[in-house]
Each structure stands twice: as structure tokens, then as C-alpha cells.
Amino acid sequence: MILTAALAVPLVGSLALALWPGWSRSAARIWAVVVALVPLGLMAVAWGRFDTQGALFQLVEEAEWVPSLGMGFRLGVDGIALAIAAMTALVFFGAAAYPVDTRGSARQYYAWLLFLEAASLGVFLALDLLLFYVFFDLTLVAMYFLIGRWGHGEPQQAALKFFLYTLLGSLFLLLAILGLYLSADPLTFDMRELISQQPLAGSGTMAGVVMAAFLLGFAIKTPLAPFHTWLPRAHVDAPAPASAILAGVLLKMGTYGMIRIPYSMMTETFVVWALPLAILALVSILYGALVALGQKDLKRRIAYTSINHMGYAVLGIAAAGALFSGSEAARSMALIGATVEMVAHGLITGALFLIAGSFWQRGETYALAEYGGLSARTPKLASLTTLAAFASLGLPGLAGFVAEFHIFVGTFGVYPWLAAIGLTGILITAALFLRMLQSLFFGPLPDRWKDLPDLSVSEFSVLGLLLLLVVVIGVYPGPLLEIIGTSTGWMVGAG
């Protein structure tokens, strides 16, 4: 019941906020933080119970939902899902605790936040293809309302674009799911069954069409370079905790979906599509980095680095799925790297977006040129931003390095040229983060920021928690790698 409880508690918490109108601002916030703490604890318990020598999917919970269609309420985790779900619970806890201007409707804000948490955890814990889709779509609704109502700039436009664009992706995903479902015998949405059946193996064109629809759906969500245009607007106009969730959690649904569905259920077809996918990932890496370098707006810059970082993750996935057998060690490395990248990016970029939110709350602007010389004025803000930026650019000893190291070592074993070109992306990100730090914290301090307050206790502790974990993963990645490695072993065919 651990996994069901991890979904049910935030859902009930959300309903409690939605249905009873009497919550005060602070009560709603405290409630949200306390409720968000529960899934985090449950994920820790699940982590403890996970047997690294055991089956691929563990802690499975199953109940009938729509048996006439072969759909069930099936939850369960493998190492990859567990790692990402744990990160999700943490990012949501941080987002709930982070102070934000809720514009007089704190109750609704925290209700949507908790609802989004339930839906997001559902995506990563679902072992049923249709259940996965249900949660996948519900996240869109919750995020739409969070951006549209509590965003700034032109939030409604941004929210509309986000919803339209990502719904297009998710509907193609639905068609692909149905294509896969109709080829299975007996008809079922059970992921374990579909993974062992490989229903579309050897079916030629049909498999190609279904794979294309899956990759299109997930590429929009991830997002990969030509499909990313919804992302900058949504990120910039969203309230900071929503941006942190969008980047930290929602983008992972694209890459996690790639691993869970096309990679696992259509292994044979994925081999054929791996190279084009890897090239697309490379384009995202370079494009994301170069465009980020050109941004003069703090939040837009961070948003574009997400495209770059998700490119690394996709590159790792493509490399891992490039061969049917052989080079198991390298492919396993690549897949481990991709998963660690998802976790690391969730924590790091989550922290960076929260920091961007802190800048907005203080200065009502994201323009880098407006700031300067803040290192002496706000030492806590400066040091945590620096730490997050260094982690994001892949400094050894921090989580980003562990991820990118694995991805590139793994990819070198499969696509050496692509890996070599991809490495330049790291150089560019280093440059853009250093310049960002320089313009925020060094140089002359403008007069208007003379009284800029440093991070408050709650801001400092949330950021500190996220970044502490970044350091821990960077220095002592063993446990995380072990738990992810149990799955990747199965998935590259070596287990």
C-alpha cells in the first residue's frame, strides 16, 4: 500500500483544501508542506524495501479498474522509477515550502499543487499504460491552472500554449498506446505483460508508425529541439515553484516515458530509431546551450539549459537502445547516466528556478543586466546560486558530473562521434553559467539593490536541502547508482 498511499495522501490533501473554504493563508501552506512530506517519507520507505537483487518491478499493487478493456490500477517501481519518484516527492516538498505570492487564493494554489503532486507521482509509479496516460494528462490540467492563475507576464497566453502544445503530444501518445494495445494478445494495458510480449516485434510499418507517434509525443514533452517552443514561455511566466516542478518533474515524464514504453516495449524497433533520436538529442544539446548563452533574461537562460540537459538524457537513452545485444557495459552506463541526469537535473534546475523566483520576488525583473554586485550584499543567495550553477555545468563532485560522465562514457562506446560533438555542449554551458554568475553577483552594485534582502530561512532551507542532495550524489553516488543499475542491467539485456 506504500505506493497507493503516496498518491492518495496528496490527492486527499488537495481535496481537503479544495472543498473546505475556511483555510487561512498560513494554514493552507503548512498543510501543503505537511502533506507533501508524507509521499517523501513513503518514497524513503519504498527505497528501503527495494531489493536490488529482486525482480524488475517491485512493490507491485494491483486492483481492477476497467477490466473489460484490460486496464487496471497497477502501481509498481523499478530502480529507475523509484529514483525519479523519490526526486519528484522531494521537489514537490521544496515547491510547497518555498514562499510564494499566492495573490489572495492560497487555498486554491496549494490544492492544485498537491493535485499535481499526486498526478506526477502517478505517472512514475504506474504499471499500466492507460493509467500512465491518465496521470500524464492530469498533470497538464493542474499545470495549466498554476501557470494561468498565479503566473506573471502574460500567464494566460503561456498557459494556453503549454496546454495546446503538450496535449497534441499526449494525444499522439494515446494513439501510439492504442496501436500497441491492439497488437497485444490478449488485449491488455499491463506494462509488464507488454514488455514481455513485445507485441509489435517484426510487424514492419505498423511498428514504425507507432514508434514515431511515441517519440513525437515524448519529444514534445521532454522537449527536444524542434518541438520545444512551448517551453520558454511557460517557464518564464509561471510562478517559481511551478517552474521548478515543470522543469524538475514534468519534463522527466518525456524521458521516463521513452525508457518505459518505446525502449522497453518495442526494443527491436527502437534499435532502428536510436540513431535519429541520438542526432535529435545532439541538436537539442547544442541548440539549447547556444540559445541559452544568448539569453539576457535569467529565467529564460535557465529554461534553455533544460533543453540542453534533457538532450544529454535522451542521448544516453538512445545510446543504450542502439543495439539489440553487445556492448552491454557501455549501454548500461549510458542508461544509468540518463537516469541520474533526470534526478540531478530535477534537483539542480528545480533549485535554479526557485532562485530565479527569489530574484523576481525581490526585484520584479529577470533581466540579468539589471542586477550586479550582489555577492557582498546577499552572501547566502550568492553561494547557493553559485553551487547550483556549478552543479548544472557539470563540475566534478556534484550530481551533474556523475550523470554526464556516465552518459558520455556510455555513448562513446556506441556513437563516439556524437559523444565527441556533444561534449562541446558542456563547454558552452560552463560559459553561460559563469557569465550569469558574473553579471548577477560581481561588478558594481546598483543603488536600487542596496537593501536587497538575503534569502529567508525557509528559502535557504529548501534550497539547502535540494543542493545538499546534489552534493551527496556527487560525492557518494553509490546507492543511487546501485538502485538504478539493477534496472538497467535488465534493460540492456545483461540481466
Binding site: 473489460s68 490540467v141 494556453l160 494525444l171
Partner: protein, 470 residues
């Protein structure tokens, strides 16, 4: 003659006649009693349908009346929708001088829709279509002092007169070819003697005639006007029950067509054009009810997807029924909210509703998201089954068209949702009291509950088949 087979319809007929007589004797202030009678009759009829739920599929009355799962499901939908509409009309019509008779006409409209759904004979079909049309014109123009309602009724009548004439011509052509009106005989004769020069025009004419009732392009023009200007409860009624009846009628009729005729393509094309046209037209609307009318047109297009594959895919009928049920519930919910707000139509008037009336806004949002097909609402399972059936039947392109249309439709649904949620307004108009509020909450809850409990709905739909004609 097995009169018991017709019990639900007979009860309705007696009830409808009784109401009209009653209304001419009762003083106006007691006309509300007629609503009570209508509701009781509808509940009783539904009870009779349920009572014979497990009886075997068969043709009754010398083969002109189908008693099968499809018809029973349609009857439940039609009676249920009419019941909600009767509740909604209770206060809406209270001031109307002809309050009492209204419920009689309502019941006649329900009988017409049921006749379409159950007809297994072309003459029977014509009677059903005409009964449904005639009552429809009267209901749409019920507020006869109000010029938009007159215009809507006139438009409905003109398009309807043409479409019904075409339907009759098509049926006469078939009669001329085969000398038969009963579906069993028609199917056998057409399979033996499939002269395409007669069958194709006849099929196209019948398709147009039933397309009018469905609200399919190019005979859909009455739908947005009726949704906008008819009394709001009637708008809910005519968009739902005629669609349910006509969809079943068309599904049944296509089963007569010989295999040599590629009629599926004609329906597929109609489906694609209808959903696209409806959606594109809905994009620019600034009037909520008119937008709902256009959305009803596009929903017809989705429903037609199931009819395309009805002969080839086992679950096509279940897909059609579940989709129609989902549409009916969501449409009732959103129109109940409109009625509750005393027929507010302009989208501008809905500004900031989420703050003033969160429950009403919640019901509207839930219904629109169900139209969109968002899981786990009931509309999702309808669309899911439709897509599955279309892909299984080899019409993947139609599913892709439907997906793109769904994204387009999100645009105008979100305009409404954004108006409700993200704007503020000081105005707070009166509402129509508890009957409408109760109908709204029940149907709004049903959108959610039927989605979460989709298994029951799907099981119910899958248990029925259309009685095989050959």
C-alpha cells in the same frame, strides 16, 4: 400481439396525451403538476426498459421494431436526458402560459427519438424522424415572442423540411428497387440485387436525412442556432436525444448496405468534415451557447467514427454507445449550469464565475474537459473506445484527424475556462433555484463518477448488440 414489448413507449404515449389533456383543464399555477407526471412517466418507462434488460435480441411487430441491446441503451439515455430536461424546465417554463403542454411535447419528442433508435423498417424510421422533427420545431420556438428563438425554429424547420424530404426520396428509391420496407427483407434483397445506380443515391439521401438529425455537415446549420436561442433546457434536449436516436438509426441502416458498396468511406468523410467544420466554427464564437452548439456538431463527427466501422469491428457499437452516453451526461451538465444561471449566453457574462459560484464553474469546467476527452472523465472513455475502434477497423487516418480536432477544440474550451477562472467581475445575477442546481450537481457528478466507474458503463454498452438482420 406482444404489447408488453412496447410497454415503455406506450406508457410515454399515454402519459404525453394525458398531460396535454390535463394541461387544458388545470389552472396555470398548477401546471407544475404536469412536470411531475412527465417525470413519473419517464421513470416508469426506464423501469420497464431495465426490467426487460436481459431479454434476447429480437425483432417484434412483424419485424418493424428492434428490441436489442443497442435500442435499450438508447432508450435509457433518451429517457434519462428527458428526465433531467423536465427538471430543468420546471422553473424555466413556470411563467410561460403554455407551461403544461410543454411536457407533453417533450414526451412526444422522446418517443420520436426512441422510434428512430429502434426502427427496423423504413416507414417506421420516417415516422420517428418526422415525430422528432415536428416536436423539435415547436420546442425550439417555444418562446415565440422572442425573435432569436423564432429565427432558430424557422431555420430548424426549413433545413428539416428539406432533409426530411430527401430522406423520404431515398427510402422510396430503396422501396422501388426492392419492394420492401422491412430491414430484414431489404437486407436480403439488396445483397442479392445490388444495383449501385440506385443504392448509392438512396444511401446518400438517407445519410443526409439522418445527418440532419445528427447535426452533421452539411445539414448542421440548425444546431448552433437552436443551442443559442431555444429555451436552454430544450437546447440540451434537441442536441442530445435526436443525436442518440439518429446515430442508432444510421448504424442500423448501414448494416443493410451490401458489402460491395464502400459506404464506409462516405461516412468516414462525413465524420472528418463534420468534426473539422464544427470545431473551426466554434473557434470564433463569443457566445457560450452558440459555441456549445458548434461543439455539438463536432461531437457528431466523432460519433460517426464508430458508425464507419460498425460492421467490421466488434466493439464499434459499444464505442458509439459509451461516447453518446458521455456526450449526453456532459452536455446535460453544462446546459444545467446555463439554465441555473438563467440562460446566460454571452461569454463576457461568465467572467469571474469561479469566484462567485465555484460549484457552477466547476461543473462547467468538468463538462468541457469531458467533451475534450480528458481522463478520467466519462468523455475520455468514449473517445478512447472510438479511437480504438477506428484504428482496429483500419481508419487510423480518421483517428489522427480526430486527434488534431481535439487539440483545436481545446482552444475554445480553454477560452471559456480561462474566462471563468482567470478574470474577475463584481456582477452577481440571480439563479434559477434548487431544481436546476440539483440537476446540475447530479449530472456534474455523473461526469466524474461514470468516468471513474467506466467499467460499468462499458459493460452495459458491450452487453448489447444490434439485432442481426441477415
Amino acid at each position: 400481439m406482444p404489447v408488453a414489448d412496447l410497454l415503455p413507449e406506450l406508457v410515454l404515449l399515454v402519459g404525453a396525451t394525458g398531460i396535454i389533456v390535463l394541461a387544458s383543464f388545470l389552472p396555470h399555477r398548477l401546471h407544475g403538476l404536469c412536470a411531475l407526471v412527465a417525470a413519473a412517466v419517464l421513470v416508469a418507462s426506464s423501469g420497464f426498459v431495465l426490467q426487460r434488460w436481459d431479454s434476447p435480441d429480437q425483432l417484434a411487430f412483424s419485424g418493424v421494431w428492434a428490441l436489442d441491446g443497442g435500442a435499450r441503451f438508447a432508450k435509457l439515455l433518451i429517457f434519462g436526458s428527458a428526465l433531467v430536461v423536465a427538471v430543468l424546465s420546471f422553473r424555466w417554463m413556470a411563467a410561460d402560459r403554455r407551461h403544461g403542454e410543454y411536457y407533453g411535447i417533450l414526451l412526444f419528442a422522446a418517443i420520436g427519438a426512441v422510434m428512430m433508435a429502434a426502427a427496423a423498417d423504413t416507414m417506421e424510421l420516417i415516422v420517428g424522424v418526422l415525430l422528432s422533427s415536428v416536436t423539435g420545431y415547436a420546442l425550439v420556438g417555444y418562446h415565440r415572442q422572442w425573435s432569436p428563438a423564432q429565427e432558430a425554429a424557422m431555420k430548424y424547420f426549413l433545413v428539416g423540411a428539406l432533409a426530411n424530404a430527401l430522406l423520404v426520396v431515398g427510402i422510396v428509391l430503396l422501396f422501388g428497387l426492392t419492394g420492401a420496407t422491412g430491414y430484414t427483407e431489404l437486407a436480403a434483397t439488396l445483397a442479392a440485387n445490388s444495383d449501385p445506380w440506385v443504392i448509392i443515391p438512396a444511401f446518400v439521401l438517407v445519410l443526409l436525412g439522418l445527418g440532419f438529425k445528427l447535426g452533421a455537415t452539411p445539414v448542421h446549420m440548425w444546431m448552433p442556432d437552436a443551442a443559442q436561442a431555444a429555451p436552454a433546457p430544450v437546447a440540451a434536449l434537441v442536441t442530445i436525444i435526436t443525436k442518440v436516436g439518429a446515430a442508432l438509426a444510421l448504424a442500423r441502416f448501414t448494416m443493410l448496405m451490401p458489402d460491395t458498396l464502400a459506404w464506409q468511406w462516405a461516412v468516414a468523410l462525413l465524420a472528418g468534415v463534420t468534426m473539422t467544420w464544427g470545431n473551426l466554427a466554434a473557434l470564433g464564437q463569443t457566445n457560450l451557447r452558440r459555441m456549445l452548439g458548434w461543439s455539438a456538431v463536432s461531437q457528431t463527427g466523432y460519433a460517426l467514427m464508430a458508425i464507419v466501422v460498425i460492421g467490421t469491428v466488434d466493439r464499434a457499437l459499444a464505442a458509439l454507445l459509451v461516447f453518446l452516453a458521455g456526450y449526453a451526461v456532459a452536455n446535460l451538465a453544462v446546459f444545467s449550469a446555463v439554465v441555473y444561471l438563467r440562460g446566460r449566453t454571452d461569454l463576457e457574462d461568465y467572467r469571474g464565475l469561479a469566484r462567485q459560484r465555484p460549484w457552477t464553474a466547476g461543473v462547467i469546467i468538468l463538462s468541457l474537459l469531458s467533451f475534450l476527452g480528458l481522463p478520467p472523465l466519462v468523455g475520455f472513455f468514449g473517445k478512447l473506445l472510438l479511437f480504438t475502434a477506428a484504428i482496429e477497423g483500419g481508419y487510423t487516418w480518421l483517428a489522427v484527424v480526430a486527434v488534431i480536432n481535439t487539440v483545436v477544440s481545446l482552444f475554445y474550451y480553454l477560452r471559456v475556462i480561462a474566462t471563468l477562472m482567470f478574470t474577475q467581475s463584481e456582477q452577481n445575477a440571480a439563479d434559477l433555484g434548487w431544481p436546476a442546481a440539483a440537476a446540475m450537481l447530479v449530472t456534474g457528478l455523473a461526469v466524474l463518477v461514470l468516468g471513474l466507474g467506466a467499467n460499468g458503463l462499458i459493460g452495459l454498452a458491450q452487453s448489447g448488440a444490434l439485432v442481426m438482420l441477415r
